[in-house]
């Protein structure tokens, strides 16, 4: 009987949490005070699903008052992976780059769950500033210690001899983060490897980051071009374009602007 009553309690809590989430997603105006007081209790809930929704709501409504609680959730290894991941994402959206937030994100970079590492790195990419310590930490987590000995991307040797981080999603996020935090020209060589990564998502992140860093460090054009020559432009994906839908989109857009469908401009 106790099992059933616990199950019923859990279902009711989750249902209530889902109602708040649906209202938030559908942009329905909610009573902020009621919501905040619910979030205070929900962040201490024994049900991880309810806690997870509470963290998401803090992100959606950007409640800065819960910042320290979100930091502690991110660094709490006993929390479920999804909650820690959403906590990292929430810190990114809240946009507060205080030392405590950066410290929490640094702890997130070492998390055992890959989604937490990814979102922590993406949060750093979004909110952090150039920081030598962060740069060193990210490089240490990304590459094996002997990476600088490699002259170019290894063809014959297995890739895990170069990278410590084997998850491509995390590598792509680390590459994005490096674009924000890199301060040293000595570590630029890392882009020679990232721009040739096996996964195109990592290469794209690395390309965008490289040019951010190049601007910040005032790299000359020849140097930038030499790195660009390393970039592998092959891709295993493509964006399909439906010519019929593109035409429909054009017509709909013009109609919405009250333009005539056929005009000299279009």
């Amino acid at each position: 009987m106790k099992i059933f009553s616990n199950f019923k309690k859990k279902r009711i809590s989750i249902r209530k949490a889902t109602v708040f989430l649906r209202r938030a997603v559908s942009d329905d105006s909610s009573d902020t005070d009621e919501l905040k007081s619910w979030i205070v209790h929900a962040l201490e809930s024994p049900y991880w699903e309810v806690k997870n929704i509470a963290v998401k709501l803090v992100r959606i409504y950007r409640f800065q008052s819960f910042l320290s609680k979100i930091e502690s959730i991110l660094t709490d290894k006993d929390e479920k992976g999804f909650i820690r991941r959403n906590a990292a994402d929430t810190l990114k959206v809240l946009g507060n780059a205080s030392p405590d937030v950066i410290a929490a994100l640094r702890a997130g970079l070492k998390d055992s769950y890959w989604e937490v590492r990814t979102h922590s790195a993406l949060a750093i990419a979004e909110i952090a500033s150039p920081d030598q310590e962060l740069e060193s930490q990210i490089i240490q987590m990304l590459m094996r210690p002997n990476w600088k000995k490699y002259r170019s991307y290894p063809i014959w040797r297995p890739i895990n001899r170069l990278y410590k981080e084997l998850n491509f999603e995390v590598r792509a996020a680390y590459a994005s983060a490096l674009g924000t935090v890199m301060t040293s020209r000595d570590n630029l060589k890392i882009f020679k490897f990232l721009l040739k990564d096996d996964y195109w998502k990592v290469r794209v992140s690395a390309l965008e980051s490289f040019f951010k860093v190049a601007d910040r460090l005032h790299l000359d054009e020849n140097k930038q071009r030499s790195y660009l020559n390393e970039f592998d432009t092959t891709c295993t994906d493509f964006k399909p374009l439906s010519p019929v839908k593109i035409s429909l989109q054009k017509v709909v857009a013009e109609k919405q602007e009250d333009k005539p469908v056929f005009s000299e401009d279009s």
């Binding site: 991880w48 997870n52 769950y113 996964y199 994906d237 989109q249 709909v252």
Partner: protein
């Protein structure tokens, strides 16, 4: 129909000896495949136009926004085409007095109707769920129960009811167990799991239909061997009289599948919907049960097994209990898309794997 007609003509006019050709399973199986293929190709455009006229599609233009990517605007319920082609070729080429075929026709109608209802509710109610999960499972399990009862009924069973409870696995020539009446539970489990596995895999253009084609071919060959006394003895299978007729049905599935792939290949002009995925999954499961090669599906249908297990492990263990992901995304094919592989690449690689698994499954004919 043609089988019965030609046999009638042969009896009446015994000089028409060439009509004996219609008694050969191999001849009828090949022409069943060709008929189903031709019917699919011929009726495809008409069905596509009809489904569009009935708004059996997602609208690409909503709330002033046009979705230029994605699959909106493509008609669903294309399973009607596949199942209709199979039914037509079965009626034309199969021996309709054969109990195996009668059971398969019943399965086609049952699972086709279940899938059709699911698709219809999704479109009518404009919802993503359609028929509730427990109704779907209940419908599949109910047919499994009926099949089990037929299997053990002395008057209705297509095989010797004393052999009905035997459990065979690939590579072993003798059954590993005789479950007796509890075999009915095993049948229910087989039917629900295979039917749902195909349903889960149907997510990309051409992803589900090609493995179904390969599996139908494999089961067709096994059915032919098991239904031929000399071959069954040679390959050390239990002989089931009349089961060779399943090969005609299975090759009809193969032909219908290839015809459907004509329109379903990327970028798809039509989707099979749940009508097709539940229907075809149900048929494959019933064939597996009828020829007692349920575990062969684990090899031949390995793609579907992996997809189903990935969803089960993720949805019921990792996410609710552990609160994190194991795979990037599930069903498993979505993980490959998430890693940055184009849809077409994922589909073709899955076809390659499905073909290799089919070959391995065929090799178990000899490795016993």
């Amino acid at each position: 129909m043609l089988y019965h007609l030609m046999n009638y003509l042969l009896e009446k006019y015994d000089y028409l000896t060439y009509l004996r050709l219609f008694n050969y399973i191999t001849f009828r199986a090949i022409w069943s495949a060709i008929t189903a293929f031709v019917v699919s190709i011929a009726l495809g455009p008409t069905l596509i136009r009809y489904l569009k006229s009935k708004n059996a599609t997602d609208v690409p233009w909503k709330d002033g926004m046009v979705n230029t990517e994605g699959k909106t605007g493509t008609p669903t319920m294309g399973g009607v085409l596949v199942l209709g082609s199979i039914l037509l070729s079965t009626i034309l080429w199969c021996n309709l007095s054969n109990r195996f075929i009668q059971i398969l026709i019943l399965a086609l109608i049952w699972f086709g109707a279940l899938g059709f209802l699911d698709d219809y509710l999704k479109l009518k109610l404009d919802s993503k769920t359609g028929l509730k999960e427990y109704y779907k499972l209940g419908g599949q399990a109910f047919f499994g129960l009926i099949l089990g009862i037929i299997y053990f009924h002395p008057a209705l069973s297509p095989i010797d009811p004393n052999s009905a409870g035997k459990l065979f696995i690939p590579f072993l020539k003798t059954p590993i167990a005789n479950l007796g009446i509890y075999y009915i539970l095993f049948i229910i489990l087989t039917v629900t799991s295979i039917s749902n596995a195909v349903n889960l895999a149907d997510g990309l253009d051409g992803l589900a239909i090609a493995p179904v084609i390969f599996i139908a071919g494999v089961f067709g060959i096994f059915a032919y061997v098991i239904g031929n006394y000399k071959l069954a003895q040679y390959f050390l299978f239990d002989f089931f009289r009349g089961s060779g007729e399943i090969a005609v049905f299975a090759l009809g599935m193969l032909g219908a599948g290839i015809g459907f792939l004509w329109y379903n290949a990327y970028p798809a002009q039509i989707f099979m919907g749940d009508t097709g995925s539940i229907g075809l999954g149900g048929l494959l499961s019933v064939i597996a049960v009828l020829i007692k090669q349920e575990f062969l599906f684990v090899i031949a249908g390995g793609i579907f097994v992996i997809e189903a297990f990935s969803v089960l492990i993720h949805k019921y263990i990792f996410i609710p209990r552990i609160g994190r992901r194991l795979f990037f995304r599930t069903p498993f094919h979505l993980s490959f898309q998430h890693r940055g592989l184009a849809e077409t690449k994922v589909v073709i690689r899955f076809w390659i794997v499905a073909a290799i698994l089919a070959l391995i499954a065929l090799s178990t004919l000899k490795i016993r």
